[in-house]
Symmetry: C2
Subunit: 249 residues, 2 copies
């Protein structure tokens, strides 16, 4: 594998790298990464998604991708989604998607570096990097070894999520990487039959969080049973995320 390392780099021409982060798990980083990639693709961009969540990878499942990446002397070819988004994830390299990857930090960092250096991404307008929860090895490796154009922060209405997102923002600012904005997910639930709104996770604090951090508030997504269903069925590319177009800009 060492031999292939520098060659892929010669073939790659990635204009922008955007990482999607929150610090807190389960707020919708993988969802936002996927919807961002889809919105950019629909605008005609060449797009890739690098799943940097090595022990909890959910990108391939969201896109319904099961194929195994092909390796050649130049590097590893990513797998393409139905809209031709290029995807690389540890789950594509495992015999079964349920297999556990029980690695400590150094192995995690090594895998992420290989996904950046040894995958033949080719010419991309945007590479979206889906970060795992926490402010540890994976996030540090991405921020220290990839040329990030910026970070999209994902939060949800709970004060707990806001607290952990502020930790992530402090890490990002400390490393000098611009925050492009804050997206709030699971903001409310609108009952499909009555249209009535319920703030299941409480009132939104996203605008306050964005103001406190001095970054744009990019928008909200509701709790939507269709999102959960399309994610589980590997059909996230079919979600008509109108809410997402302005975010993608």
């Amino acid at each position: 594998q060492e031999a292939s390392s520098p060659l892929a780099q010669k073939l790659n021409d990635v204009k922008h790298v955007i990482a999607v982060m929150s610090g807190k798990g389960g707020v919708g980083k993988s969802l936002v990464s996927s919807l961002l990639a889809v919105a950019l693709r629909r605008e005609g961009q060449e797009v890739g998604v690098l799943d940097a969540d090595i022990t909890g990878p959910s990108i391939p499942k969201m896109f319904g991708i099961h194929g195994h990446p092909v390796a050649n002397p130049l590097g590893i070819l990513p797998v393409k989604s139905s809209l031709d988004i290029k995807v690389m994830s540890i789950n594509l390299l495992l015999p079964s998607e349920d297999d556990a990857v029980v690695w400590r930090g150094p192995l995690i960092s090594g895998a992420i570096k290989q996904f950046w250096e040894e995958v033949i991404w080719g010419r991309l307008d945007t590479l979206v990097v889906d970060l795992p929860p926490g402010t540890s090895d994976a996030s540090l490796t991405v921020m220290q070894s990839m040329p990030l154009s910026g970070i999209v922060l994902v939060t949800s209405p709970q004060a707990l999520a806001g607290m952990v997102v502020r930790k992530a923002a402090k890490m990002t600012q400390h490393l000098g990487i611009p925050i492009l904005g804050v997206v709030e997910n699971m903001s409310y639930f609108a009952a499909p039959d009555t249209g009535k709104r319920y703030d299941i996770f409480g009132p939104s604090h996203a605008r306050e969080t964005a103001t406190q951090l001095g970054v744009p508030f990019l928008g909200q997504l509701p709790l939507d049973p269709q999102i959960a269903e399309l994610s589980d069925e590997g059909r996230i590319e079919e979600y008509a995320a109108e809410a997402f177009i302005p975010i993608a800009q």
Copy 2:
């Protein structure tokens, strides 16, 4: 700090250590850890909670604990909640709860070991360990350096969560630690005004997951705005989790 290391151990007498895990973030591990600790405490047990999520600690906030732990030559004293549950978390040691802890694996493992060895837990019937998402340094350190009686797995209805929980189960079984059972959280939403049920995250798969793993299904918790509110206000001890009593047994 080295000098204090073995002394606290001489004072500690912890009968059972139970770790709460899921692999996936945001499914409710911290919530289940807290409700488990509260249910056991209400039965008259001496209970502690060790927050092993070093970069995303939410336990102190759920219990409304802001005090700083006191250290003496014997070790570090945990902070007590209003029901006298002993809590230790990195967030209690930071100047502000929003401060980021940007540590790679070895520092994370070191902190968890100190929470086990240098905190004066005293006599406890049960110590609940809240694990972070993933199957990396924190989970490995807990499973390799603490005498676990068993693991409670937390899942939610989404197939994505089920997939990652099965990875966590494989890790646990590989390390020979018994799984006490599976709890499903956010199973459905019952509208407070109409009583109508909505499966926001899709139909439940928890019984199938429990059967596949050969472990008991311990029960379900609904999506409940009161849970989010009490967590945000640090009053989780006030949640009347009847659903939780059988789980605690």
